[in-house]
């Protein structure tokens, strides 16, 4: 049974002033579900809507259409006051470690604050717990880190604090939004491993959002690929990497340095991801796609299930 279920989610934002408003559809009819203990990798370039989708799943944004189901509860229309009680079961690990902690707070204050709000414990007990978790994420001596301010820590250390804070409440669901993309290569893997450690320990559902399909393929059991607000391919990680179906997925894999050793068909796309405010008609990839046919320019392809659990949104795979 799935823990998190997004059903046909649409997320629109209004931009501009009172008189000249434009609506931007950042996420367009996306459905995914993530099981307890499952790692789901969400891949796409910036502007694909992957981070927005992650935030909708946490109900940080209220979707314009569609439903968000968490552990059987429809949380789509839940008011913030009621949501707050559920929030300790779902947490976010953000992309930018430098802005994720209030610069005026100490690390200790940042860690105990959610505990004091959600759990009925004393300040002293909260500090003890904060120390324990700091040690678990490898920030020792913990006492020293408790009194430090965020600007005294490196990016990697801050990301460990962010993970510690998310895991303190032992959540069931984690959204990790590009947790390593602002970090140096040599420490990225350690951050990923830290997240996976907690994921296994608490049997969490993990939505791992990244532009790095190589990294995602190593940790996720299933992968979803997004392009301009839509889910264009979904399936088991191994089969997505070995036999990508959608031209966009093929291009993503081709773009990775040293990927030729894998033997995937090389696909190079023209141009750049379009403007989400004004997506192309028909298939959204067609202006860039080397395989574009007439129908691609006219009609949006349906999401079809090629084999059980393996879906793709492309006319090339529609039997007619």
């Amino acid at each position: 049974m799935s823990l998190v279920k997004l059903d046909n989610v649409v997320m629109e934002f209004e931009l501009g002033t009172f008189l000249s408003k434009t609506r931007i559809r950042a996420v367009d009819r996306v459905s995914i579900d993530i099981g307890r203990g499952e790692i789901y990798g969400l891949v796409g370039e910036s502007g694909s809507g992957k981070s927005t989708l992650g935030r909708v799943s946490l109900r940080l944004y209220k979707p314009t259409k569609g439903r968000v189901i968490f552990d059987g509860i429809d949380i789509t229309d839940l008011p913030e006051g009621k949501l707050r009680k559920l929030r300790k079961r779902m947490q976010l690990i953000p992309q930018d470690p430098f802005s994720s902690i209030n610069p005026l707070q100490t690390i200790g204050e940042a860690l105990i604050e959610p505990l004091l709000v959600h759990v009925d414990i004393s300040r002293e007990e909260a500090i003890e717990k904060a120390k324990e978790i700091l040690e678990e994420v490898g920030l020792t001596p913990a006492e020293e880190f408790l009194t430090r301010k965020p600007h005294q820590l490196s990016g990697g250390q801050l990301q460990r604090v962010a993970i510690a804070r998310a895991m303190l409440l032992k959540p069931d669901y984690i959204v990790a939004d590009e947790p390593t993309s602002n970090l140096d290569a040599s420490i990225r893997a350690s951050i990923v491993k830290l997240i996976l450690e907690f994921q296994r320990r608490f049997n969490q559902a993990l939505l791992f959002i990244s532009h790095d399909i190589a990294l995602v393929s190593l940790i996720a059991s299933r992968i979803g690929v997004m392009y301009l607000g839509q889910l264009v391919e979904e399936g088991p990680a191994k089969s997505i990497i070995r036999e990508p179906l959608h031209p966009y997925t093929k291009a993503l894999i081709s773009a990775i340095p040293l990927s030729e050793e894998l033997g995937v068909e090389r696909v190079v796309l023209k141009g750049e991801i379009g403007n989400i405010a004004n997506p192309p008609k028909g298939c959204r990839l067609h202006p860039r796609c080397p395989f574009a046919m007439d129908i691609c320019r006219r009609e949006e392809p349906p999401m079809i299930e090629v084999t059980p659990g393996r879906k793709v949104k492309c006319w090339l795979y529609v039997k007619r």
Binding site: G156, S217, A251, L252, S254, I273
Partner: protein, 314 residues
Amino acid sequence: MLIVEDLYVKYYTRRGTVSAVSGVSFTMQKGEMLAVVGESGSGKSTLALTIMRLLPRNAVVERGRILLDGIDVLKLSEDEMRRIRGSKVSMVLQDPFTTLDPLRRVIDQFIEFLMEHGLDRRSAEKLALEALESVGIPKTLAYSYPHQLSGGQKQRVAIAMAIALKPSLVIADEPTTALDVVVQKQIMDLIDTIKRGGTSVMLITHDIALAIERADRIMVMYGGEVMEIADKGTIMSRPLHPYTQGLLASIPRLGSDKIPESIPGYPPDLRNPPKGCVFHPRCPYADERCRSIKPQLIEVEKGHWVKCHRVVKA
């Protein structure tokens, strides 16, 4: 073509002196692509700025020599340097969004740059359009404002400006980091064609996989020092420095089942660098010697230089 000898650069900050580049020596041949690989704080960007003579005011070149086509760059006056910048050595920056003035048309900025190097307006405009076309920017876009361009297109404009005057060296400082993966590939392909045109390219990057895919030779920097230099085949098949080995192990490999390895610890504080080998606090093989004596950069086989006590000259 480019010779850097025993270069030391320090930043004087309120919170102490930062040894950003320490004892860096290397050479570059005409028409080759050298990748300078390192993490933030490795000194790779400072090295680039020193060659361009664009260091901030609080930086001081303590020692060393930079010879570009026989010219001692560090001895040039500000005026002479200005003439060389853009014509003999040019730079492509990481962030294409800050390179261009948002209030002026692309072509006007390009023409102004060329006129500063002695061209008249007519020939400047002609050359600018040619250069832009060669990087895939059509005439219509040349006469638009920067905000009408995408990130990749802006980076193309930056590259066009860098190569317009046919410099012998182009320094590309993380030219694709701010771009999306698919566009990264397009831009790197473009840089490849520049190199094939005979221009030397110094590719500064944190991504060793990108370096291996694109460069001829690779120089690995850490803590302001050169750890290893070799051609890319050697780096891939016989990396000798533990740091290079660590970087290679940190690449997520498609189709493998293993999560990449990371190097324990954090980059050094260069206000107060570690004694001995600058990498020893993170090195799995560090012993007493590494903690006390700084190793020398030695040539272990032809063209393969390593700075590590564990490596002995063959």
